[in-house]
Homo-oligomer: 226 residues x 2
């Protein structure tokens, strides 16, 4: 624990965005990383989160096992729904119902226990998949709710939800990460990575990632199967 | 499933309040009951929820196992904190950080999967323990957030969070439940019930319950150890 910095809870998926957030936040905050085992298709993402949490020397990394897959409704948690290989109209089937709301709710609970007032989440509303719970108006509404929800907020300790990536392009995120020491070879973005951690190269998340590295003029360290 | 009624997700703890909510909601809604195994001190509460869900013939009853206890911070989930026997000043130690936010987030996820637009929660801001996440302003803020969070809300299916008990006294809740067929002998309110389901008689929740039955002029069927 670093006594000179304020504590912050960082939602860490092991993907490109959340790792960039951690790399940036750690300069000013004593970081507590929070990941979830929620029935996602592969555990490679969690292995990536563990390596990254260690590399960036977070004060604590918790992985909560939660029953999100049991509710179904998404290609990311329901094996009966295929991850699409072409871009879809509207909100895609990889959307997990209320996922960010559930993740932020746990972050809020842990922040209260830790007496932290800062929560970081790597949502992005530019190069994103169109998920409703990545938009600024959603984050603002969550923040207002959070400040009415908790004992600590009632006692005057205002909770801030930080979204440092929300208005950045994928290329800008990648440049920010590289400046802050991120090794993107460790991160996983693919919705359908195999057990060796190789990315499919064709899902929406892979497409956004590839384009981001191209636009940033940075070599993409990802291993793609196609 | 009852095709003639709209679907609703009912948060069901097995306590007096949520059971009364279910008994009332089932007249107009096709009910999907949602309970949580979250590291609470006793599983008697979940056994009560199961019996009640069966008695009221809900279409489905899901019990999600979630890692709330792992975050600590409450006498209800942390065995190192005693449940107090006297009334406390301010927000009591039985407060579980962000509990209703986490519960409502899961209800929101399930509602989206079920294509339900109605969620019921038995919060009460009159005879309650002073928890911040039982107040109307909190519920309003959650509702605004929920309607920005989900794919279905974006597509125009507005989610309503119903709190039929929020302005009722405990006595009024008990009268409402009896009119709607609740057998309160099946419900558990105690924060420290023993394995036989007997209530301690002295915790905040037992005190509110006892006074409620007295005020309602109804015999209290609860087995108290003191």
């Amino acid at each position: 624990m670093n006594e000179s910095k304020p504590k912050a809870v960082i939602l860490l998926s092991g993907g490109l965005d959340s790792v960039t957030v951690l790399a940036t936040a750690r300069k000013k905050y004593d970081c507590y990383a929070l990941s979830f085992s929620y029935g996602q298709r592969h555990s490679i993402e969690l292995e990536a989160a563990k390596k990254i949490a260690k590399q960036f020397e977070v004060t604590e990394h918790r992985i909560l096992k939660i029953d999100l897959g049991q509710l179904g409704g998404s290609a990311l948690t329901d094996m009966d729904i295929d991850v699409p290989e072409t871009q879809e109209e509207g909100i895609p089937v990889t959307y997990v119902p209320a996922r960010n709301t559930i993740f932020l709710s746990y972050a809020l609970a842990w922040a209260e226990v830790l007496e932290a007032q800062d929560i970081f989440i790597g949502v992005n509303a530019v190069d994103y998949s169109g998920y409703p719970d990545c938009r600024p108006e959603y984050i603002d509404a969550f923040s207002k709710m959070a400040n009415l929800a908790t004992k600590s907020a009632i006692e005057g300790h205002i909770i801030s939800i930080h979204t440092p990536l929300i208005n950045l392009s994928k290329a800008e995120i990648i440049r920010m990460g590289i400046e802050n020491g991120v090794d993107y070879a460790l991160t996983i973005s693919c919705y359908a990575a195999n057990e060796q951690g190789e990315a499919c190269g064709v899902c929406d998340s892979c497409r956004l990632r590839k384009t981001g590295f191209d636009d940033a003029g940075v070599a993409d360290p990802t291993k793609y199967t196609k």
